[in-house]
């Protein structure tokens, strides 16, 4: 529909600016664009649909209240939203003291699919996601594991070393190698976000 097409054409930073100016319709559209991705992230971290839904709502309320603080020179909207959601989910994870929950159980759980209207931006986001998953899969398992423990479980490097039974220096080396590799491999995708 033409109206939907018009909505899809509004760039993300402009949408956040509108949210910052108190435009609830802009928040609704921002939600439509990113809720699937952020719900997936919260669910991946928490492993529980109910908790993930709460985090998703809290995250968008934070966006509503703090949209004026968003600075496009600091990060893309997508990254800003990811980090807000991740931070809240990790806080929840810590408060529940369920750090020992394994990622494997979450990964094996059957997930629904995101069926929001797919716009041009969604295609680019999905393509970037696909590329990152592809590059993550190419990482040596031990490097990928360290990154996932840090990002999705909020573990410190010392905690990772303890849990994995490897020296702290090894954790750092693996993290660095993995991050450098991803940065090089995904330079084009990162450039699109700058």
């Amino acid at each position: 529909m033409p109206q939907d097409a018009d909505l899809q054409a509004v760039p993300d930073p402009a949408l956040v600016a509108a949210v910052g100016a108190g435009d609830a319709a802009a928040l609704a559209l921002l939600y439509d664009r990113f809720s699937g991705m952020l719900m997936g992230l919260a669910h991946r971290i928490l492993g529980d649909a109910s908790d993930a839904e709460e985090i998703l709502q809290e995250a968008f309320l934070q966006v509503w209240n703090q949209a004026r603080r968003y600075d496009p020179s600091r990060s893309s909207v997508s990254t800003w939203l990811v980090l807000i959601t991740r931070s809240r989910a990790i806080d929840r994870l810590r408060s529940r003291k369920v750090k020992a929950r394994t990622l494997l159980a979450v990964q094996q759980e059957k997930r629904g699919s995101h069926t929001s209207p797919e716009g041009v931006g969604d295609v680019f986001r999905q393509e970037r996601g696909r590329r990152l998953r592809q590059e993550m899969a190419l990482l040596p398992p031990e490097q990928r594991e360290v990154l996932e423990m840090a990002f999705f479980r909020g573990m410190t490097q010392t905690e990772i070393a303890d849990q994995a039974g490897i020296p702290l220096g090894t954790v750092k080396t693996r993290s660095l190698l993995a991050m450098r590799k991803l940065r090089k491999a995904l330079s084009e995708e990162i450039e699109e976000l700058l």
């Binding site: 609830a24 839904e53 004026r68 990060s75 699919s113 995708e189």
Partner: protein
């Protein structure tokens, strides 16, 4: 490696360290709490964003959006939103907070109408362009998947490329140590042979290049040994060489407290312990970064 490259590499490494530490702390990467900016740091920040965005999406129940919109006082259905003006948000807010009795400009309505028309035209054009790009991306993605499915060599090349990137990252990493392997004296055939062993800071990942070795005779092969501080040599595998071909070996394991590395000539398939003559040896370790 130049000093400038070293500096870049150290800066690069520091950025990642800091990012990961902040990441682990959980709160500090909130957009409002981030520290000084730089292009490299920004790139890593976006990389972290990509990591979060790479998770398979899940459609939340409609009730979440309804609750959210009820909380903020809006409708759960997104109303048409036009791109707001490019001015800073603070100015937009200030305009909205101005008293309603403020005199309006007589140009406001015509100007708004003109802007709306221009924006509508631009939106239509942009939508058409972006829709075309979406179709192109879909088509290209599909074609790429088809080609990859038909060509196992592509997957092999990807693996090879990943391995090369791994090696490059390792030999340029912070804390890497190198050990030069030199030919044993007295054998003229080995005079031009040499090797360089790179050991990562974790003392586990290593990468070895060897040049100048002559091909083994039938029934023989070269064998690499790591010699720990205590205990006998530990085999790291056998290899052969082609005439004039450079050998590259790597692994992510190495005996702890390795003090030397040796290449010997052994029966094909290797030996439990060195039995043949040593051809290359190195025991002087040098930290380069």
């Amino acid at each position: 490696m130049s000093d400038e490259t070293n500096r870049d590499d150290r800066r690069d490494t520091d950025v990642v360290d800091r990012l990961l530490e902040e990441l682990a702390r959980g709160e500090a990467l909130d957009a409002g709490a981030a520290g000084p900016r730089g292009p490299v740091r920004r790139e890593y920040l976006e990389l972290l964003g990509l990591m979060g965005a790479a998770v398979e999406p899940i459609e939340p129940p409609p009730a979440i959006k309804q609750r959210l919109m009820a909380e903020v006082g809006g409708s759960a259905v997104a109303a048409p939103v036009r791109e707001p003006a490019r001015e800073p948000v603070a100015e937009v807010v200030a305009m909205r907070q101005a008293p309603s009795s403020a005199p309006s400009s007589r140009w406001a309505l015509p100007l708004a109408a003109s802007l709306a028309l221009a924006l509508a035209g631009f939106s239509g054009y942009q939508t058409t362009q972006l829709a075309g790009q979406r179709r192109t991306i879909d088509e290209l993605s599909q074609r790429l998947e088809e080609v990859e499915a038909r060509t196992p060599a592509v997957a092999a090349l990807r693996g090879q490329l990943a391995a090369m990137r791994d090696q490059l990252a390792m030999v340029t990493g912070r804390g890497v140590e190198i050990c030069a392997l030199r030919p044993m004296a007295g054998d003229a055939q080995l005079a031009n042979s040499r090797g360089v062993l790179y050991v990562a800071a974790d003392h586990q990942h290593w990468y070895l290049t060897i040049e100048g070795l002559v091909p083994c005779k039938q029934g023989r092969s070269y064998q690499l040994w790591f010699v720990p501080e205590d205990g006998g040599p530990v085999s790291a595998g056998t290899f052969d060489v082609g005439e004039g071909v450079r050998v590259e070996l790597s692994s992510d394991t190495m005996p702890t407290a390795t003090r030397a590395v040796t290449v010997t000539l052994e029966p094909a398939g290797g030996s439990q312990e060195p039995t043949g003559p040593a051809v290359l040896h190195g025991d002087e370790v040098m930290a380069v970064l």
